[in-house]
């Protein structure tokens, strides 16, 4: 389960960016992927999402302070992302220890972008961490991270919060109906009547319910 960390070679083409930045970037990438997966799940575990989002925020804040708000150029990154993560004692140590790098000479205003090394065919998300080389990893990252980065492009501190704005969506009104007041009757069907005044979004295409049950629900909504 814990793959042994590969020994780092003192390669001549090893990039200048210290290990800590790479580790931190990997952690950020991984966190964003996790959040994205959270987002795609129908009912995310809110505690987990909040904790991951807070972690992302912390990393971004530190990166902003560093001025290192850009991804290192990948052509010399000879490591698979997974390796970076595996030998991550550095990250587990205090962030203020000596491993801190000097701020990268990057454009602080540059947007967070993924620079794909190659447009390799998409790899299923499960295979992200099993990729052999950096190119496959980058490409498979490309697809999912791009979606996340679109959200973060503005690079505003509030960017991460936007990820939560969808969670509750149109159900602020439903909250008032559901909690703290005389609720609906016990059965879900009766409860639906209370929602009649709220605009009910149509079931998504991915809805797995029986058509029969769906008809029944629509019937109730229409009748009220």
């Amino acid at each position: 389960m814990f793959a042994r960390g590969l020994k780092r070679k003192c390669a001549e083409d090893e990039e200048a960016a210290p290990a800590y930045s790479l580790q931190r970037q990997s952690l950020l990438d991984m966190s964003l992927v996790k959040l994205q997966l959270c987002h795609m799940l129908v009912e995310p575990n809110l505690c987990r999402s909040v904790l991951i989002a807070n972690t992302v925020r912390q990393i971004q804040e530190e990166m902003t302070q560093d001025g290192s708000w850009c991804v290192p150029v990948p052509q010399t990154a000879g490591r698979a992302s997974r390796d970076r993560l595996v030998s991550t004692e550095i990250l587990c140590r205090s962030a203020r220890e000596g491993a801190r790098p000097a701020p990268d000479p990057g454009d602080p205003a540059s947007e967070l972008q993924v620079v794909p090394a190659a447009q390799a065919p998409g790899v299923p998300p499960g295979g992200v961490w099993d990729g052999d080389g950096p190119r496959e990893n980058r490409a498979s990252f490309h697809k999912s991270l791009d979606q996340i980065f679109e959200t973060l492009e503005s690079q505003s501190p509030g960017a991460v919060e936007e990820l939560f704005s969808d969670v509750d969506g149109s159900y602020y009104d439903l909250d008032a109906v559901l909690t703290g007041m005389v609720g609906g009757a016990k059965s879900g069907q009766d409860g639906l009547e209370a929602f009649a005044s709220t605009a009910a979004p149509p079931p998504s295409a991915g809805c797995k319910s029986d058509l029969g049950e769906l008809d029944h629900v629509v019937e109730i909504l229409v009748e009220t």
Partner: protein
């Protein structure tokens, strides 16, 4: 014992009742299984009462929320017993959205000799009835029935993580990620919201409620823990909405230990009052802490559960293990605390002697009457013969749920889909 593991059989909660006579488990498939301790017979003094299956019933079914297009899991998150007030037993069981009150009662007689129906229950032709008789109760084989007496639904937008019966035995609370509601057992269509930490703008959400419990004796007092490692004690007499806490428990962060994972591992997964009501115990990812209610600025005791994982946090974050929610329990006299770990290990800490032990719940070690051997994890350097190295630990075998008999040294340990019951050895 079954060989394969179906996910539905994974035990998700374990709880003794107030006398310890009954032990309830809930699983991912929405079932509740209740074990009853057999009466100790005078003939077999050395044979301690064993627990046998008493009742099994389906508490919750999977549901579908049509508006959100979400499936609502039937997994039982928590079971809490009510104190026994008559011959029947009552317990609360909850999934993510709905709490149910179940009545478990015995039936050992049945009426026989109806006039209008025959022994199979079929209606008789009234024209054939020429005499009248009074039905009589005759003994039958013992039957244990579970019936749902109350269903408390539609009060939680988020996932319920805790339920707690109040010491007044008339009310109970249910807590989800952002809100806590107070219920009266008799009233199902109304609940009072007593804590609400939902921000006006969900984008500002940074903290959730992780667990909540009523004080064992003071019916106006309860605590709730958060994902930021804090505990708030609230007094319901102060105001209707307990958004302002009476006490706030938080340990200052150790700056030398700070990392990107600090907040995640500080998130409290369980909070339990001591039986005395003087202390609370909290479990976060790596430690168990005991707090004195009179001291808010730091815990009085901290116990390391598996500190060897501290250097592996990134991997544990990657495989999501860092989000595992371990529970913790007190023994009857509040002198020993217990919590689970990985590799089917669980740990006990004696608060008085400061000694601790690591035990394993596994088939190989669990022949009946076998004595558990203490286990040890080797953290580096030479591994001794009986030790297990950190890298060999099986992280899929996690003990999240344990229970301790209210007065005796009997513990129940849930290891995935298996339930282990251990007793103190008789001398």
């Amino acid at each position: 014992m079954e060989t394969g593991t179906t996910e539905a059989d994974i035990i998700s909660t374990v709880e003794f009742n107030h006398t310890g006579e009954l032990l309830a488990t809930g699983d991912k498939g929405g079932r509740v299984v209740i074990f009853q301790r057999e009466q100790e017979s005078k003939n077999q003094v050395h044979r301690r009462g064993e627990y046998n299956v008493y009742s099994t019933f389906q508490s919750h079914e999977p549901e579908f929320d049509y508006l959100k297009s979400l499936e609502i899991e039937e997994k039982i998150n928590k079971i809490r017993w009510l104190p026994q007030q008559n011959a029947a037993y009552f317990l609360l069981s909850t999934n993510d959205k709905t709490v149910k009150l179940w009545k478990v009662s015995e039936r050992d007689k049945r009426p026989e000799g109806y006039n209008l129906k025959d022994e199979e229950g079929r209606l008789r032709d009234p024209a054939t009835i020429t005499t009248l008789r009074v039905p009589v109760l005759r003994p039958m084989d013992l039957m244990v029935e579970a019936t749902p007496r109350r269903v408390f639904a539609n009060a939680h937008t988020y996932h319920i993580n805790s339920i707690s019966v109040n010491s007044d035995y008339e009310t109970y609370m249910s807590a989800d990620d952002l809100r806590i509601n107070l219920w009266n057992f008799e009233i199902t269509n109304q609940s009072f919201n007593i804590v609400d930490i939902k921000p006006a703008n969900m984008e500002e959400l940074t903290e959730v409620i992780t667990a909540a419990e009523f004080h064992p004796h003071h019916c106006n007092t309860f605590v709730y823990s958060s994902s930021k490692g804090t505990i708030r004690l609230c007094d319901m007499r102060a105001s209707a909405l307990c958004d302002r806490h009476t006490k706030f428990f938080e340990e200052p962060e150790d700056p030398s230990n700070r990392s990107f994972f600090s907040e995640i591992i500080s998130s409290i997964s369980d909070v339990k009052f001591s039986h005395s009501g003087r202390y609370i115990m909290t479990r976060d990812y790596l430690t168990v802490k005991v707090w004195d209610l009179n001291m808010e600025n730091r815990p009085i005791e901290t116990y390391q559960v598996h500190d060897y994982l501290r250097s592996k946090l990134c991997s544990l974050y990657e495989n999501d293990c860092i989000f595992d929610k371990f529970e913790c329990v007190w023994n009857g006299s509040d002198s020993v605390i217990m919590t689970g770990s990985y590799n089917n290990f669980f740990r006990m800490f004696d608060r008085n002697t400061k000694r601790d032990v690591t035990l394993e719940a596994s088939r190989e070690n669990s022949k009946p009457r076998a004595i558990l051997k203490p286990r040890k994890v080797c953290v580096g350097g030479k591994r001794r013969k009986d030790e297990i190295s950190v890298d060999s630990l099986d992280f899929s075998k996690k003990i999240l749920h344990t229970a301790w008999h209210p007065s005796e040294n009997i513990i129940a340990v849930a290891a995935t889909n298996n339930l282990y019951i251990f007793q103190d050895k008789v001398n």
